[in-house]
C-alpha cells in the first residue's frame, strides 16, 4: 500500500470528517450509470440504491442515469475536469485507460482491507478482471458485464428443416445454416435473412469475437499496441463480409445495432449475434421459441467480455470514496448480483452468484441464463487501449468501410492499424 492510499484508508477509517459532515448527516454520493438495457433498468437501479440507503443510514446514494455508455463517460470525464465528479460511476470496462490517463479514477486496492474484502475481490470471474486490472492495480469492479451470444429462432430452424434444438457449432455450420434459413419471395426479395451480426454501435466488439475464434487478439493487455491487421482479424472480417456479400445469407451493408433485436422479433433474421444483456428483452418480446448458444468456433471458441465496471472517482472526498466502495461492494454481493442478472440478462459477476438459491431456481426454469457464464471460460478482455475512443473509432470506421464495400478487408485493417499506431506511439 503506497503512502497516499494509506492516508486515504486511514482518513476513511478514522472518520476524519469534513466540516460539512460534522453534523453527522449521511455521506452523500452520486452514482452515474448508463442504460445499456432499456428504460426499465432505471427503476431497478433506483430500487437498489433505495435498498442500500435503507440498510446503510450513514450513506445516501443518488443514482443518476447518464445516457448511453458513451455519454456517461463524457459526463464523468467532463465532471471530473470541472472538479465535481460523481463518487461512483458505471463505465465501459474498456474506458479504464482513458480514466487512468485523465487521472480521474482511484484504484480500489486501497479500500480492500479485511480478509472478507480480499475474498470478495478474488471472487469475480477471472475473465472479467482482465479489463479491470492493469499495472498490478485494480481499477474497476465488474458489475454490468456481458459476452456476445447467439440467439436463434427455433421455429425458423424447424421450417428450414434444421434441428431446432441445435445451434451451429462452428463457422461452416453457421454459414450453412444461415444459407438454409435465408428465405426469398417469388420475386427474389429476401423476407428472412439467415443470420445477423450488427455493425453499428460496437462493430469492433463483434469483430473481436470473430478474430478470437480465428485465433488472434486485437490489442496487447498494456493497451498500447494493436494488431488490427493480424491474419486472424482479417479472416474474421472476411467471414463477416462474405456472409452477406458472397453467400447472401446476411443483410448487405451496415446493420444497425439498435434494430437488431427488433429484426429478430420480426423474423427478419433467424439468428442474431448480440449481447447477453438482451436476454430478458428477448425473453419478453420474442413471440416464438428461441435458443441461446455460445458463438460458433473456428480455430477455437471465443467472445470478448463486454459491459460496464464500477469505478471510484479520484476527485471526491475520502469519505465519499469509502461510501462509494461500500455501495459497489454491496452491489456485487452474490445475492444482489444474481438478482441483477435475472432482471437484466447480464452475466452475474461471480461464481458464488450462480450458487445462490434464486439463481439456481431461475436457471432451472430458464436454462439459457447459463450460456453466457459457460462461455466465460473461452472469453478474453474486450479491446481496450489508451485513447480508447479514438482507437476504436479508427477500427469501427474501417470495419464499416470494409463491410459496405468501399475498402478491401486487408486495406481497411491496414488503415485502422496505421491510425492506431499513430495514436498509440506516445504511450509506449
Amino acid at each position: 500500500m503506497d503512502r497516499r492510499r494509506f492516508l486515504v484508508a486511514t482518513a476513511a477509517s478514522a472518520a476524519l470528517v469534513r466540516p460539512s459532515l460534522a453534523q453527522g448527516g449521511p455521506v452523500k454520493i452520486s452514482f452515474f450509470y448508463p442504460i445499456a438495457v432499456g428504460g426499465a433498468v432505471t427503476r431497478l437501479v433506483d430500487n437498489l440504491a433505495k435498498e442500500f440507503n435503507r440498510l446503510n443510514p450513514d450513506v445516501e446514494v443518488t443514482p443518476v442515469y447518464a445516457g448511453t455508455y458513451q455519454e456517461t463517460l463524457v459526463k464523468v470525464v467532463t465532471a471530473h475536469k470541472s472538479g465535481t465528479p460523481p463518487a461512483l460511476s458505471c463505465l465501459l470496462s474498456t474506458d479504464m485507460f482513458t480514466m487512468i490517463d485523465d487521472d480521474a479514477v482511484i484504484p480500489i486496492d486501497g479500500f480492500v482491507k479485511t480478509p472478507a474484502d480480499k475474498a470478495w475481490l478474488s471472487s469475480f470471474f477471472p475473465a472479467f478482471m482482465a479489463n479491470s486490472q492493469t499495472g498490478g492495480k485494480t481499477w474497476g469492479i465488474p458489475f454490468q458485464r456481458s459476452t456476445i451470444v447467439l440467439y436463434w429462432n427455433k421455429e425458423a430452424f424447424r421450417e428450414a428443416g434444421l434441428d431446432p434444438e441445435k445451434a451451429p457449432a462452428n463457422w461452416d455450420e453457421h454459414l450453412a445454416f444461415a444459407q438454409k434459413l435465408t428465405k426469398r419471395d417469388a420475386s427474389g426479395n429476401v423476407t428472412q435473412w439467415g443470420t445477423q451480426i450488427p455493425s453499428t454501435g460496437f462493430p469492433y466488439w463483434l469483430l473481436q469475437a470473430l478474430a478470437l475464434q480465428a485465433g488472434d487478439v486485437l490489442a496487447n493487455s498494456a493497451g498500447n499496441r494493436t494488431t488490427f491487421n493480424a491474419p486472424g482479424v482479417a479472416a474474421g472480417l472476411q467471414y463477416w463480409l462474405d456472409l452477406g456479400q458472397k453467400h447472401k445469407a446476411h443483410a448487405p451493408g451496415i446493420v444497425e445495432w439498435g434494430t437488431t433485436p427488433k429484426d429478430f422479433f420480426e423474423r427478419k433474421t433467424a439468428m442474431m449475434w448480440t449481447t447477453t444483456g438482451n436476454l430478458s428483452n428477448v425473453r419478453a418480446n420474442a413471440k416464438f421459441p428461441f435458443g441461446v448458444a455460445m458463438l460458433p468456433e473456428q480455430k477455437r471458441r471465443g467472445s470478448p467480455t463486454g459491459g460496464g465496471n464500477l469505478m471510484i472517482s479520484k476527485k471526491v472526498s475520502p469519505e465519499q470514496q469509502q461510501a462509494a466502495f461500500r455501495f459497489a461492494r454491496w452491489l456485487t454481493e452474490p445475492e444482489i448480483a444474481a438478482q441483477w442478472s435475472i432482471d437484466t440478462g447480464y452475466v452475474a459477476v461471480s461464481p458464488a452468484a450462480y450458487d445462490t438459491a434464486r439463481m439456481k431456481s431461475y436457471a432451472q426454469e430458464f436454462p439459457p441464463a447459463l450460456v453466457a457464464r459457460d462461455q466465460l471460460e473461452h472469453a478474453t478482455a474486450e479491446l481496450s487501449t489508451h485513447e480508447n475512443q479514438r482507437v476504436t473509432k479508427a477500427l469501427t470506421d474501417n470495419v464499416q468501410a470494409a463491410l459496405s464495400g468501399s475498402k478491401t478487408v486487408q486495406a481497411a485493417l491496414n488503415d485502422a492499424q496505421t491510425e492506431a499506431e499513430r495514436i498509440l506511439r506516445p504511450y509506449r
Binding site: Q70, D103, N189, T200, I254, V255, E256, E266, N398
Partner: protein
Amino acid sequence: MKKSHSDALIGWGLMAPAMLFLIAFTHWPAIASIIESVYSTPRARRPSSFVGLDNYEQILADPVFWQSFTNNLWFAVGTIPASIFLAILMALWVNDRIPGRTFARMAYFTPTVLPMIAVANIWLFFFTPQYGLLDQVMGLIGRPATNWLGTKDTALWAVIMVAVWKEAGFFMIFYLAALQGISPVLAEAASLEGASRWTFFRRVQFPLLMPTTLFVLINAVINAFRMVDHIIVMTRGGPDNATSLLLFYIYQVGFNFWDTAYAAALTVFMLVLLAGAAAIQYGWLERKVHYS
C-alpha cells in the same frame, strides 16, 4: 452637443447588458478558440504547450475532417434549396383558399414543435430495412429492401431528408407572412394585363419575396452547420463517417476524445467558414436595406 452626449451615454447603457452577454458567450469563446488552437491539449501527464500551427496541420492531414467537411457541404447543398423550394410551395398552397388548407398548414408546421432528438428515432424506424415504413411502401411496389442508413451512398441523403422535413415548415411561416403582406392591388393589375399565374409568381411575387428569401437563406445556412441532433441519434456519423458533419465531429473530438485543442482548431475553421458565408450574405442584405 449636450443632447448627443447624453444620447451616447444612454445608447451605451441600453446596449451594454446585451453586449456583455454577446461578448462573453460568442465573441470571447471565438477568440479563445483561436488561442486554444495553437496550444496542445493538456493531459494529466503532459501539460499544455505552445505548438504553433500543429493543430491546423493535423486538420489538413485528417481524412475524417475532410470527409465531414465535404459531407457538410453536401448536406448544405441538399437541405438549403430543397427546404426553401418546399417552403415557398407550401406557403403558396396554404395562402390560397383551397379545401384542406388549415390541415396542411398545421401539418407542415408540426416538425417545428417536435423535438428532433425524439423524432429522429421515429425516422430511424422509417429507414429500417425490410419492415421500416419506407421499405414497407417500397415492398408494395415490388422494390427490394434498401438499407438506407447502412449504405454509404444513401445514408447522407437519408439524414438530409430528415433535415428538410424539419426545416421547410418553419420557413413556410415566414413566406406565408410575406405573401399575405403583398398588396392585392398588384394581383389585380397583373391579371388585367393578362399575366398567367406563373408569370405573376415569377415576375411579382418571387421578387417581392426576396427579402424573406434572404432571411430564410441565412437561417438555412446556419442550420446546415448546426443541425446534428439527428446525427447523434440516427447514425453517430456512420457508416464509416458517411454522415459525419463538422459540428458532430467537433463534438466527438472535444467531448469523446477530449482533444480540446484540436476541437478548438476545428471550431476556428468552422468560424471562418461561417464568417465567409456571413460576409457574402451581409453584402446582399446591405443592398436590400438600401432599397427599402
